[in-house]
């Protein structure tokens, strides 16, 4: 069941991202030529570099952000791949990798959240967006806003708590067998939502970056 829900939800979210990318292009026109695609890929790659314009703190923040994403990717692969692709529960060396990267992820995520919280706080612009939404002024509403990036940032920050605490609390002699089962389910379903949120977040952040560049 979990495998089916996971596969479908990830496919749907990725599909929505693609649709959104084409429906709301960042530039004026979409360059689908070979050269255009290569340029696009190089552009995406450069986003992961520590820009020279960044201050030391900025560089550190970006570095931590990148490591967080990397850890998250590893946790995603080790957490989901055994169940989704091989149909087996997380165990053996994969479990060890998962549990090893979990605290690294937690530390990096904490630093990233502290570092970017101020930047991601909601401002008047987001209030305007809500006002536009409620007053039916919808033109370009879904294309030009930083709200998505911020919203997914905070959602992610919230979701990390049940994801991490569910597993950590199960390691203390507090919850019995039934509690353990619930915590395990909580962990993986929250992790799934976190994955979906993270996909959206990364997409929206990259979009915003494209726009700036």
């Amino acid at each position: 069941m979990f495998a089916i829900i996971s596969i479908w939800s990830i496919v749907i979210v990725l599909g929505l991202v693609v649709v959104h990318w084409f429906a709301c292009p960042v530039g004026d026109k979409r360059d689908l030529s070979f050269g255009g695609l290569v340029r696009f890929k190089v552009h995406v790659l450069t986003m992961f570099f520590l820009g020279q314009k960044l201050s030391l703190v900025g560089k550190l923040k970006k570095l931590v952000y990148m490591v967080t994403l990397l850890c998250f990717l590893i946790l995603f692969l080790t957490g989901f791949v055994p169940r989704l692709i091989c149909g087996v529960p997380l165990s053996g060396y994969t479990l060890m990798i998962h549990a090893t990267f979990a605290p690294v992820f937690a530390v990096c995520a904490m630093i990233a959240i502290v570092g970017y919280a101020q930047q991601c706080r909601f401002t008047r612009e987001e209030l305007d967006w809500v006002v536009r939404l409620t007053t039916c002024k919808w033109k370009g509403l879904l294309c030009n806003s930083a709200l998505g990036g911020k919203l997914t940032f905070w959602l992610g920050a919230i979701l990390i708590l049940p994801v991490a605490l569910s597993m950590i609390s199960s390691m203390y002699p507090i919850f019995g067998t039934h509690g353990q089962e619930i915590l395990f389910e909580l962990h993986r379903y929250c992790a799934l939502v976190l994955v979906l949120v993270a996909i959206c977040h990364v997409y929206l952040v990259m979009r915003a970056k494209f726009k700036v560049d």
Binding site: P89, S91, G92, Y93, M96, A99, T100, A102, P103, A106, V107, A109, M110, I113, V114, A117, R121, F122, W154, A157, I158, I160, L161, A164, L165, I168, S170, M171, Y172, P173, I174, F175, G176, T177, G179, Q180, E181, F184
Partner: protein, 691 residues
């Protein structure tokens, strides 16, 4: 009495007779089944002898009591003899073998032999027929700890080519060893299995016919069947059976018989644990360790040496928690008329609305979700507490049996050495008491069992001389080995030398014995047929001669002894469930992951000695060639992986604290910004109001 009352009584009698006839036709004796009354039926009964005649204790040569004829009057003996205790001799491929259990062990210290035997097709055990062990020989070896029936009732056929000649001559004298119902069902403290005046001594004398009479204390028996000269007996078996009571004389205790020659047996449906214990006891051996200070130029260190094994003091050791809390063996190990006693959690018994399926650890304590009856679903039978297992990840319930954490002696770096009643013949008192240290049964050894769960097992390493046919190993009977290799095995010499309880066996002795056996092996006909090889198996290794055949071409000096491990040579192990320790002594209790997940935990890294008699004599005495194996090697788990995995637990506390701290900071940030957002919202609302 009024005529109407007479008619009614008459009708009632007819109904009862029809009822009992019906029960009998349904395969039940009139004493079988249950009429709903929970009180124990009183057994003041007439006794019958083995010829089916009513027993008259006052006769000059009274015959011994026959349980088959006495109890069989009201109970269906045939049905009972199909039960677990009595059915192993006739296990056919289509009948169920049941899960692996304690074997019988054919032991012989002279030939250094320890062969696990069972007719149930259990992996690692040999069927009696595989080693040419007749039912007669079987009884002689194992009859002391035995409820009768089974091999005891196999009537030898003198016309059969495979019949044991000794049995043909001796069985008419000794008689059959019928099921002795009183071994389990007698509540009389006089029921005597182990003393010199008890049942076991009759077995030792081959007085099989008399076992039940003496065991129940109905009388005394003078005479020894094994010492009766067969030439003094009639040739016809029937005549011999009639005459023998004159040579082996039974004198009944007249005080036990009432005026109608009836006897009161204190019979219970549910035998007490005392009755089970005679065959199902275990004894822990304690290792006495001596610390030796070793000083060399470079270092000073203290080494520990095991000096001897001694029995644990019985008065300081505790009972199984279930018994301590008032239960008895038969509360869980129950049976119907068929005597197929439930064996615990592994075989899931299909039962009426879950009443049988819940007779297991899991069923009693947690209930059986698949049962029809609500009570069985809920569990808690007989007041079994519902365990919460706080902090135990659920994977443990898939990988481990309940017994892994709860049963047996606490795991130690080296498993404890145990003795069991049946293997080591515990419980024989007085002049026929014996002290058998071998085989060294180790426990608990954590092994992945037939149900693919890891469970504590008892284990020992078989040792035997045998014949190897390609990848198949067949043990030889010790007497056959002794016959061929008396000299190399030094069987005529009374040696006091012992190494770890074994008579030491040198590689040279092995070589010479193998040469003697090999020379006696028949030569295969045809070129493509593999040559059978003489082998010795001990400590998980096979010893055999290098290529060639002494019976034909090579000379003795050309052979070398080759020792190697082999897939088919494994230790024999069987799961244990008792004693169940108190919950506070379970593994992992209180979140102690380190009980198992530490770099040197006995659960994974306990050292299992590959016990062997093979030793060499050096200047400082005998040195045993014992190797050890990590316990994890019996668990189908990659040793490197579990090493790393357990090592990661060193950092577990740090990992938990780090993640908790991070979560606290993230939560603080979330709280801070949500408060700020609230402040903005409040400000915006009040600004709006003011304007």
């Amino acid at each position: 009495m009024e005529p109407r009352a007479n008619i009614l009584i008459g009708l009632a009698v007819v109904v009862m007779l029809v009822g009992s006839a019906k029960a009998a036709t349904a395969g039940k004796g009139i004493g079988d089944g249950n009429d709903g009354n929970r009180s124990e039926p009183v057994h003041v009964i007439t006794l019958y002898d083995d010829l089916g005649n009513e027993l008259k204790p006052g006769e000059e040569f009274p015959r011994p009591v026959s349980m088959k004829n006495t109890c069989g009057k009201c109970h269906n003996y045939a049905t009972i003899s199909g039960g677990w205790h009595f059915n192993s001799c006739r296990v056919k491929p289509e009948e169920k073998d049941g899960r692996i259990g304690e074997p019988w062990v054919l032991r012989d210290s002279g030939t250094r032999t320890m062969i696990p035997i069972s007719n149930r097709g259990w992996e690692g055990a040999f069927r009696p027929s595989q080693i040419n062990l007749s039912s007669w020989q079987w009884l002689k070896l194992f009859g002391t700890h035995y409820p009768g029936g089974n091999y005891g009732e196999i009537q030898v056929d003198p016309d059969s080519e495979t019949a044991d000649p000794e049995a043909i001559i001796r069985q008419p004298i000794s008689g059959l060893y019928e099921i002795n119902c009183l071994v389990c069902h007698s509540a009389d403290g006089r029921q005597d299995q182990g003393s010199p005046d008890g049942a076991a001594m009759q077995v030792a004398r081959q007085n099989y016919r008399w076992v039940a009479t003496v065991g129940a204390g109905l009388g005394t028996v003078k005479g020894t069947a094994s010492a009766v000269d067969e030439f003094s007996m009639p040739i016809e078996p029937d005549q011999a059976a009639l005459k023998i009571v004159e040579k082996i004389k039974t004198t009944y205790d007249s005080g036990k018989f009432d005026t109608e020659n009836k006897v009161f047996f204190d019979i219970v449906r549910q035998p007490s644990a005392q009755r089970c214990y005679f065959c199902h006891s275990t004894q822990t051996q304690i290792r006495k360790i001596e610390q030796v200070q070793i000083e060399s130029e470079s270092e000073k260190k203290i080494e520990e040496h095991e000096v001897e094994l001694t029995e644990e003091l019985d008065w300081v050791s505790d009972e199984d928690v279930h018994l301590a809390s008032g239960l008895t063996c038969t509360d869980c190990h129950r049976n119907g008329d068929d005597h197929m006693i439930t064996r615990g959690d592994i075989e899931h018994e299909e039962g009426s609305m879950g009443a049988i399926s819940t007779l297991s650890c899991r069923g009693c304590h947690l209930g059986d979700e698949t049962a029809d009856a609500e009570a069985a679903q809920k569990g808690g039978r007989l007041g079994a507490p519902h365990p919460k297992h706080p902090g135990i990840p659920t994977i443990h319930f898939e990988e481990l049996s309940c017994t892994a954490c709860h049963s047996g002696p606490m795991p130690t770096k080296e498993p404890t050495i145990m003795r069991t009643a049946r293997i080591h013949k515990l419980g024989l008192h007085g002049k026929h008491a014996i002290n058998l240290p071998l085989p060294h049964v180790m426990s608990p050894v954590f092994v992945r069992g037939q149900d693919h769960k890891i469970a504590p097992h008892k284990m020992f390493w078989p040792a035997f001389w045998g014949i190897r046919n390609e990848e198949e190993f067949t043990p030889m009977l010790p007497e056959d080995v002794a016959f061929l290799a008396e000299e190399p095995l030094q069987l005529t010499i009374q040696s006091e030398d012992r190494i770890n309880d074994w008579r030491p066996l040198t590689t040279e002795q092995i070589k010479q014995t193998l040469l003697a056996i090999q020379a006696d092996l028949p030569q295969p006909e045809g070129e493509d047929v593999a040559v059978p090889l003489a082998v010795y198996v001990a400590g998980g290794k096979i010893y055999q001669l290098s290529e060639g055949n002494p019976a034909t071409e090579n000379t003795e000096a050309e052979f070398e002894l080759v020792a190697a491990e082999h897939e088919a040579i494994k230790p024999y192990s069987w799961p244990i469930a008792h004693n169940v320790r108190p919950a506070t002594q379970s593994l992992g209790v209180g979140g102690e992951c380190g009980d198992c997940h530490s770099t040197d935990s006995p659960f994974f890294f306990g050292q299992v000695a590959m016990d062997t008699p093979v030793a060499e004599q050096g200047e400082e005495g005998w040195a045993q060639q014992t190797e050890t194996r990590n316990m994890v090697s019996f668990q189908d788990i990659d040793e490197t992986y579990i090493g790393w995995f357990n090592w990661s637990f060193v950092f577990r506390p740090m990992m938990k604290e780090t993640v908790l701290l991070c979560c606290a900071v993230i939560a603080a940030v979330l709280l801070l910004y949500s408060l700020r957002a609230l402040r903005c919202l409040a400000k915006a609302v009040s600004d709006e109001c003011q304007s």
